[in-house]
């Protein structure tokens, strides 16, 4: 063993306690205070090197793929008449300057490098709120906002209530508990596109589709839920019918995670509360509303926030039900159930400033929702 690696040369000498003993001495309390311990000291890197080594990989990738894009998108959103200029790279700021530079020339007197080439002077770019105006006034965006709000406001509370009831139900039984837990968690491990496709076929417009059969059993007329072309005898699709499919899909796949979280929350509730309530002869409903829900409120709050934000960003579940590609949301023109995120993706190549402005609007909305919910929670959540 290499002594020098672990022992300082003067380790056998007693330490000088008065001056603190140096950094190879551990001060123990009480009686042992006077006895310095021999500590093996290894060679270590200085602190800053450790920090750099451990943080560098993450920071590099985060900078390139998170911070830089955020800045880039924000800049684009505020530039009026933005257009990519050849050779200016993909950083919007440098494109801005190049566009400004080029706009000073005319076709007759092209800038250097364009001799023999076609030159059309671009617009003078300016920083303004014009893109936001375009987005907020756009009828399609308003529809997207409305759709997103409807889907969120209906599906999230519905899913949460059902999940809560199911969790309490599972928690209260002994037999088949594991079975139900497994079954209700299954939708979590499915693929969003696959689920959408299955729902598309389940809600097939043919009268023989599963949902249409169920409707006919109850005496109704079959509907073409999502598809545009309706066979004979089938009611044509409406916004409502497609909305039903979307909500059904959202609830179906959303229950799994919530039930899981609620169940783990329920497991932490002290049994004593229930026992006390039982002794008091409290009715079960009162137990639920006065004990279970308040004690579960941290989980409910967490689930509510994440579900609202998640539902607000709904995108792939809708296109997977329609199944006509990443920008088709149903209906004649593909914007029937367009959502805010869908709006952003629609313009990502044609009208980039609009997409960027839309993304910023989305950010603001998400922050708003979070703030509002946090305020509400301050009164309702009991830790």
């Amino acid at each position: 063993m290499n002594k020098n690696k672990y022992f300082r040369e003067d380790a056998d000498k007693p330490a000088d306690l008065k001056s603190g003993g140096g950094d190879n001495v551990v001060q123990l309390s009480g009686e042992n205070a006077v006895r310095p311990m021999k500590i093996k000291q290894g060679r270590t890197l200085p602190l800053w090197a450790k920090v750099v080594i451990s943080l560098l990989p993450a920071m590099i990738f985060l900078t390139f793929f998170t911070f830089y894009p955020m800045i880039n998108t924000t800049i684009i959103a505020f530039i009026e008449d933005f257009s990519w200029q050849q050779g200016a790279g993909s950083f919007s700021f440098s494109n801005f300057f190049r566009q400004m530079y080029l706009s000073g020339f005319t076709s007759a007197t092209p800038p250097p490098g364009f001799d023999g080439g076609i030159f059309i002077a671009p617009e003078i770019p300016r920083f303004s709120f014009q893109n936001f105006g375009l987005v907020l006034n756009d009828l399609v965006f308003r529809r997207a906002l409305m759709n997103t709000a409807i889907l969120t406001v209906i599906s999230v509370p519905l899913t949460i209530i059902i999940s809560l009831l199911l969790s309490v139900a599972i928690n209260s039984i002994k037999a088949f508990k594991g079975f139900f837990q497994t079954v209700f968690f299954l939708p979590y491990v499915t693929n969003a596109i696959a689920v959408g496709m299955v729902f598309n076929v389940l809600f097939s417009p043919e009268p023989s589709g599963i949902m249409n059969q169920i409707i006919q059993v109850f005496g109704g007329t079959p509907t073409a839920w999502v598809e545009l072309g309706a066979p004979q005898g089938v009611e044509p699709m409406t916004k409502f019918s497609m909305g039903v499919v979307l909500i059904a899909q959202s609830v179906w796949s959303g229950m799994a995670f919530k039930i899981l979280v609620f169940m783990s929350g329920l497991a932490t509730i002290d049994k004593q509360y229930y026992d006390a309530a039982k002794i008091d002869g409290t009715r079960r409903i009162r137990i639920f509303s006065k004990i279970t829900v308040p004690l579960l409120s941290p989980q409910i709050f967490y689930i509510t926030i994440t579900s609202f934000i998640g539902a607000f960003k709904m995108y792939s579940s809708i296109i997977s039900v329609v199944g006509k590609g990443p920008t088709d949301f149903g209906g004649v023109d593909g914007t029937l159930w367009i959502t805010v995120v869908g709006y952003i993706y629609r313009f990502r190549s044609d009208d980039l400033p609009r997409a960027a402005a839309g993304a910023l609007v989305l950010l603001v909305l998400v922050l708003l929702i979070t703030m509002v919910q946090t305020q509400i929670s301050k009164k309702r959540v009991h830790y």
Partner: protein
């Protein structure tokens, strides 16, 4: 050292921004990495699908053989929207190709980003130039009106729209009522459309196969049950048309594949104006909020309510009516001339019918408008002079040297007079069609149709194009929806033509002239 961490972070961020901003300054080396001499490599992007690629790729290979120092890397982006997006997003990095095809809308956007090369210099050269006047003026207009005095592209794959009819069906109809024929005008369609539905019902043809009777005349029978191949073949030989899959309640005889073209052609045929270009390629305005357009829409809606006229969605299709046409559910379909082969029943049913091609319906004899479609080839500003010239050589090769074969094999039309009258093409046009496959025959018929009707001065058809400006493709998409909404309602609610137009104007507010 700890103090420097935040500064280090800021510096890194700034550096990243600058680095990402710099475009690449070096061109890539040879794709195979070997040193085989100074080979010039050019990139060629299109949006073509499988059918055209099988014709195009061998031609590119031939070009490489004829020009051993040029290496062409061909890539198809699978659709024009994808192609435009790929190029739009590569502007900053100069990662777009040297040569690509596109519509005037696309070119307007590329011009706006200042990445296009003018062709005039190359065209005028002694050694590698071409004769511009040889190209059809119609096709050249859209390439020359984007920027004054500059030609930005040369026509490549041009097509128009034609009406494909179920020939057998109309034969039988005519035998019952001599006034029934393939309609030439909208007015004729209105009456004939009702009549053929009547006759089909009276004769009990729905759900049956109509076969030729031995003594002459026709009768309706059911399909043979579990036939042997011999029985099948014999039955197919006497089949005129097969309506087994067609029901009275869902029979809508006339279909127009492209709703955008439907709207735009209708606007012109009813005497209206569709869009207009402003002072430069960034300005374009809507012009279709007029009484004529409302009239046209009202008329068409009437036909739709009588279930004479339909669009793909009513047959459960997203884009094309070819599948229902092959099943007999449509008997008159308007499709792109280049897509005529898609409508042939061939192998999709055991008992096929014959097809015939006709010009599209018109309203008045002095307004026989039909759309001229298809893309042009253009050079994009990239690389050194040697690469740009190599790209020009490829462009010339495809539009001049091989245009005749390209037209013959794909069904697109010749772009120049010399191609149209070339030996190869005229032999094909006048060839004995009995030796051709059904597909080639259809292509030949279409080419003849183009020759004899659309191009013939006597017939006075006008092939129109719409001005290209930034965003014009957006307008095209939006007006396509108008037809569907007027016919079938907007989200389940009925909507009047004027309301539909107003809605389109509201959604295209950017293009409304203030």
């Amino acid at each position: 050292m700890q103090n420097k961490k935040p500064i280090l972070f800021m510096a890194t961020a700034l550096l990243v921004g600058v680095l990402a901003g710099c475009g690449p300054t070096t061109e890539t080396s040879n794709s195979d990495g070997s040193n085989t001499g100074p080979k010039t490599r050019i990139d060629f992007w299109t949006g073509f699908g499988g059918a055209v690629n099988t014709v195009l790729e061998p031609m590119i290979a031939d070009f490489e053989v004829a020009n051993p120092n040029i290496d062409v890397v061909y890539e198809t982006k699978g659709g024009y929207p994808n192609l435009k997006q790929a190029i739009d997003l590569s502007v900053g990095n100069t990662a777009y190709p040297h040569i690509a095809n596109g519509y005037p809308d696309h070119f307007a956007s590329y011009l706006n980003s200042n990445i296009m090369l003018p062709l005039d210099a190359y065209m005028a050269r002694e050694d590698v130039g071409i004769d511009v006047d040889d190209f059809y003026a119609d096709y050249m207009t859209e390439n020359q009106e984007l920027v004054d005095g500059v030609t930005v592209g040369l026509p490549f794959n041009k097509s128009t729209e034609i009406m494909v009819a179920n020939k057998g069906f109309f034969e039988v109809m005519a035998s019952h009522d001599p006034s029934v024929k393939v309609p030439e005008t909208w007015a004729e369609l209105a009456t004939i459309g009702l009549r053929i539905k009547q006759i089909t019902e009276e004769q009990g043809y729905f759900g049956k196969v109509v076969v030729r009777k031995d003594g002459g005349g026709y009768e309706a029978v059911a399909r043979p049950v579990e036939p042997t191949p011999a029985v099948k073949a014999a039955f197919a030989a006497k089949t005129v048309f097969d309506f087994t899959e067609v029901e009275k309640s869902t029979f809508v005889p006339f279909n127009w594949d492209s709703t955008s073209n439907f709207f735009i052609t209708m606007v012109r045929q009813w005497g209206g104006v569709y869009t207009e270009k402003g002072g430069n390629i960034r300005q374009g305005y809507l012009r279709f909020n007029t009484a004529q357009v409302v009239q046209g829409l009202t008329f068409l809606k009437g036909l739709s309510d009588q279930r004479i006229v339909g669009i793909p969605q009513v047959y459960g299709q997203t884009q094309f009516g070819s599948n229902p046409f092959k099943l007999g559910k449509i008997v008159l379909t308007i499709s792109s001339s280049a897509g005529v082969k898609e409508n042939l029943p061939n192998n999709s049913t055991d008992y096929p019918f014959e097809v015939s091609v006709h010009p599209i319906p018109f309203k008045e004899a002095d307004k026989k408008f039909v759309i001229s479609q298809g893309t042009n080839l253009a050079l994009l500003k990239r690389g050194k002079a040697a690469e740009q010239e190599a790209a020009w050589l490829l462009l010339k090769y495809l539009t001049v040297d091989r245009n005749a074969e390209f037209s013959r094999d794909t069904g697109y039309f010749p772009v120049s007079v010399s191609t149209q009258s070339s030996e190869l093409y005229t032999t094909f046009l006048n060839g004995d069609s009995s030796n051709y496959s059904a597909g080639d025959r259809a292509v030949q018929d279409t080419a003849k149709l183009n020759n004899d009707f659309y191009l013939d001065d006597g017939e006075s058809w006008i092939k129109f194009v719409d001005p290209g400006f930034v965003g014009s493709s957006q307008i095209r998409d939006e007006v396509g929806f108008i037809i569907g909404k007027v016919f079938y309602g907007d989200e389940g609610k009925p909507i009047t033509p004027q309301q539909a137009i107003d809605q389109a104007y509201a959604r295209l507010s950017k293009f409304v002239q203030k």
